[in-house]
Symmetry: C2
Subunit: 213 residues, 2 copies
Amino acid sequence: MGIKERKERHREDFKARILEAAKKLFVTHGYEATSIRKIAAEIEFSPTTIYLYYKDKTDIAYALHQEGFRLLRERFAVLEFVDNAFDRLKAMGRAYIQFAVDHPDFYELMFVMKEPMQYLQAHHPEEEWPEGERVFDGLIQTVEGCKAQGYFAAMPTEEAAMLSWSVVHGLCSLHITSHFKHIAEKCNHSISDPETLMERVFQVYVQVLERLR
Amino acid sequence: MGIKERKERHREDFKARILEAAKKLFVTHGYEATSIRKIAAEIEFSPTTIYLYYKDKTDIAYALHQEGFRLLRERFAVLEFVDNAFDRLKAMGRAYIQFAVDHPDFYELMFVMKEPMQYLQAHHPEEEWPEGERVFDGLIQTVEGCKAQGYFAAMPTEEAAMLSWSVVHGLCSLHITSHFKHIAEKCNHSISDPETLMERVFQVYVQVLERLR
DNA sequence: TTTGTAATATTAACAGTGTTAAGTAATTTT
DNA sequence: AAAATTACTTAACACTGTTAATATTACAAA
């Protein structure tokens, strides 16, 4: 019964082709502008064919969300070699911010938009967002390492990890929505662009943590 | 020539009526579900009539964004009477978080969605987001007060303010997108709901700042 | 009071969206 | 060869924001 397997493989190939087309449109024009019809046109199939492989548009959104997490984990991979936990925490923060700057559309899909998480909740209620947990576990371990070095003393690990996540996500989110741009222009040192401003704010966070030890 | 004034007043009344209908639909069904046609049906006018008073949908989005800032400033008003700057900073943070929890749709429109800021940039390029600046100025002053008390020592005021904003915005944003919910469930203390988790993370931030003095 | 004009509101339409039901063609199984 | 399954498409539904052309109304001047 190798036929069934071959068909299954073909099906997976087709899903990948659709996702590739979706990704191409998505990274160039954003999520909203990536319509089912345009994806279909890209792979030269009828729009309804998409629905034979993906349940609905949020299904595609979640697949792209997963793709985004693959990209993020790729960036985080090198951090394993940073032995000093606090250095690793700083590097993680900067890698996270840089990812958001380099791939704003992916970042939005992963951390700002509701669709992927809604899909997750609607169609896989038992699973608990594996992509997010994998990355968050890395952060937890790093924070634990920091605690061993004397940082975050007498503070709950998970809350400290979430604080660090909130800091960088807050920065990235406000940057992408161009809120920072509008605030930065008003500030005295209006020389600096939003990106270096983000870096400076992150530095302040690092400074704060350093004084904790 | 009081006629022109009366007409102008009527025009403003009508704009307010449209906005009221939009707000009603918006708070009950969210922004995406608030279509021009539904707003028109609500005030029993033709859909195209809306366009005589508002340029496009993002114009309405920005008007609601302003409405949201009025609500937020209302909540922040009482903070003026908190004399101790650090107490005020803590109260500001909690008021901000509570606002996001109580009015998630408004919060999204004000700090997550791109439409209002895009409208601002497209139609009023000279102005610099007055709503945001007013609130942010209050934060700046509070941070300056904290510095006088010894907090944020040797740290740039604006960056410290932005850090505090990023912390609470990160928390609110991750909460609204239900990212926290999915992470919280996995954590050991899965007893607590996302809201008390936010409070605990904010407490950690407060703790961190307290140790700085 | 009638008429002309300007303001205001409406209908119809365009170009698009996600999604589903029904139908067709090809392939595989009986 | 006939029947059944699979893969795909066409047509359609019910929406969306938005615009052009048209109708209605209100109001000032004759």
